[in-house]
């Protein structure tokens, strides 16, 4: 079994030796930053002419007014990041996986060929990320729905924990764990698609099998960096309090910091580390 320490050592040494691996993440950061700025300006003219009816229809008129619009900003930012990751992250993830494989095999890093491979495998990777996004969106509604049904039938507690705690902290913790588990289950689909040339369905099945085989290391590699995002989650949940106590634009600052943390730190750590784990595990099983 490959040690977590060795995987992180490979991750950091690859970034040090070949900083070019970081370029896709920087590109994604720029895209997401542009989207975030558009979200920030969406209640104002002239962008309001396009976004105004959409925001009004889905969330209500009040979110087109200052400073209430900042209460919706974390949600809109999250939505825009999901869309950006779906369309651009699909390509970037493939490029990173190819570049990591090139480094692992001690080959000369070829950015252009990595991008070419990324484009070739784009639709399969896009399908995987779309599936994970849809599964997460629906699954994260499941627990609140079930809890609501349970508590509205007259129960005050579940497992000795009161309803208020379940419906606030319980849901957040559940969604956090669910997100990590879903990510881990599907994370190896991308290397299987990009490096082993597998199709969408087969890559997913092989990913599940591999995740089951290297369950604990995968979970650790995905969870440790994700924990860094918890302060951002807490700040987002207290948006209204922060608007009143500090100033409304603070929410936008939090969104920018969250974006930077996610795309420039958490995402690279998870993607590189799990790709290295994939390659090490495959090397070990091939040598056996």
């Amino acid at each position: 079994m490959v040690s977590i320490g060795k995987i992180y050592s490979s991750t950091f040494s690859s970034l040090k030796a070949r900083p070019l691996i970081y370029v896709p993440f920087i590109f994604l950061t720029v895209i997401e930053l542009i989207s975030l700025v558009i979200v920030y300006f969406s209640p104002q003219l002239p962008l309001r002419l396009f976004f105004g009816p959409i925001i009004r229809t889905f969330w209500g008129e009040q979110f087109l007014h200052y400073p209430v619009n900042f209460a919706l900003l974390p949600k809109l930012a999250s939505l825009s990041q999901k869309v950006d990751y779906l369309f651009f992250g699909s390509l970037m993830s493939s490029v990173v996986v190819v570049m990591v494989a090139q480094f692992f095999r001690k080959e000369k890093m070829n950015f252009k060929s990595a991008v070419r491979t990324g484009f070739k495998k784009y639709f399969h990777v896009f399908a995987v990320i779309l599936l994970v996004t849809v599964l997460f969106q629906y699954s994260m509604k499941a627990l609140p729905f079930l809890l609501y049904k349970y508590f509205s039938s007259g129960h005050a507690k579940l497992l000795f924990i009161p309803a208020s705690l379940w419906l606030s902290l319980g849901v957040i913790v559940f969604n956090f764990i669910l997100g990590i588990l879903l990510q881990c289950a599907f994370i190896y689909s991308i290397p299987f698609i990009v490096l082993d040339n597998l199709k969408f369905g087969k890559a997913i099945i092989r990913s599940f099998v591999l995740f089951k085989k290297i369950f604990l290391p995968t979970l650790v590699l995905a969870t440790l960096p994700a924990l860094l995002y918890i302060p951002i989650i807490i700040l987002d949940l207290n948006a209204v309090f922060l608007i009143d106590t500090l100033f409304p634009e603070f929410i936008f600052l939090v969104a920018i910091i969250g974006l930077g943390l996610n795309v420039l730190l958490i995402d690279p750590l998870i993607t590189l580390a799990t790709t290295f784990l994939f390659l090490e595990t495959r090397k070990t099983s091939q040598s056996v």
Binding site: V37, I38, F41, Q44, H65
Partner: protein, 282 residues
């Protein structure tokens, strides 16, 4: 050609983003006003330690806002806020002068006039000049009875006497309120205003702990508005009064059973079932 097109598109997008926030639209006005209100809130938090200069600057900024955006809905709020700043600093005469100016400016709007007169009365009340405040409050009831403020004003006066531990004046004020609301209820029987007026009559009796008359009023409402308006809240309130105030468990049970029969999907249904179970155990 494609390159030029995509470059032009990026340029337009960039220009749109740069221009966003430059227009003096409603959002920009809201943003400006929010920051102004923050300054006012700083004064309200600690009026006595706020230096006079800071108050002057805040008032000047509010006046400037009103001058630049006279038709904005926030302009009226700004005018009221200036008066409230003066009141917080115990400059009651200045506050009343400001409010009288608002009264003259918005004389055609009953809602604004009622609200302004209430604030004028409030300055007298805070100054401990209750007779002058009462004069203003009664003027609101007389001149603007159907405005939001005017409609609730008859309940404000007995609440004041209650807070000052003056039970006789409180009862007298409640009686006046009951007569006022009964009059409105008779004039507008077939409308929600009539229902609301009857509700306030019942609230007056509850304020005087006159449970029998409160129940009688609710029964009148049940008779007049059955089938026209949802009455589950009424039935729940009656059940509570029967049980808690009149110790009449039998009638409380009847009311709960009626509620569950007529409004099985009411938001009070689960509470009523629970309450009924408890009553049936006794």
């Amino acid at each position: 050609m494609k390159k030029i097109f995509s470059q032009k598109l990026l340029l337009i997008l960039f220009a749109l983003m740069i221009c966003s926030g430059c227009a003096n639209d409603q959002y920009a006005i809201e943003k400006e006003y929010w920051w102004l209100k923050k300054q006012a809130n700083d004064i309200f938090k600690n009026p006595f330690s706020t230096p006079p200069r800071q108050v002057e600057v805040a008032v000047a900024k509010f006046n400037n806002f009103i001058r630049r955006h006279p038709t904005s809905p926030m302009a009226l709020d700004a005018e009221f806020t200036i008066a409230l700043i003066y009141q917080a600093k115990e400059q009651y005469a200045a506050a009343r002068e400001q409010l009288n100016a608002v009264l003259n400016k918005h004389s055609k709007s009953d809602q604004v006039c009622a609200e302004t007169m209430f604030l004028i009365g409030n300055t007298y009340e805070v100054e401990d000049k209750w007779p002058l405040a009462l004069e203003k409050y009664k003027a609101i009831i007389q001149k603007y009875p159907m405005t939001q403020r005017g409609f609730s004003m008859p309940m404000y006066i007995p609440a004041y006497y209650k807070s000052k531990f003056q039970p006789e004046k409180m009862v007298a004020a409640y009686q006046e309120a009951i007569d006022h609301y009964r009059n409105i209820a008779h004039r507008f029987t077939n409308s929600p205003i009539g229902y609301q007026a009857y509700n306030l009559v019942a609230d007056c009796y509850i304020g005087m702990n006159d449970w029998t008359n409160a129940i009688s009023t609710y029964n009148t409402m049940l008779f007049k508005y059955k089938g026209k308006l949802p009455l589950d809240t009424l039935q729940m309130t009656m059940a509570m009064i029967y049980y808690r105030e009149m110790q009449d468990t039998a009638n409380a049970k009847i009311k709960l059973q009626e509620l569950l029969k007529e409004y099985p999907h009411s938001r009070f249904a689960s509470q009523a079932k629970k309450f009924l179970k408890e009553l049936e155990k006794k």
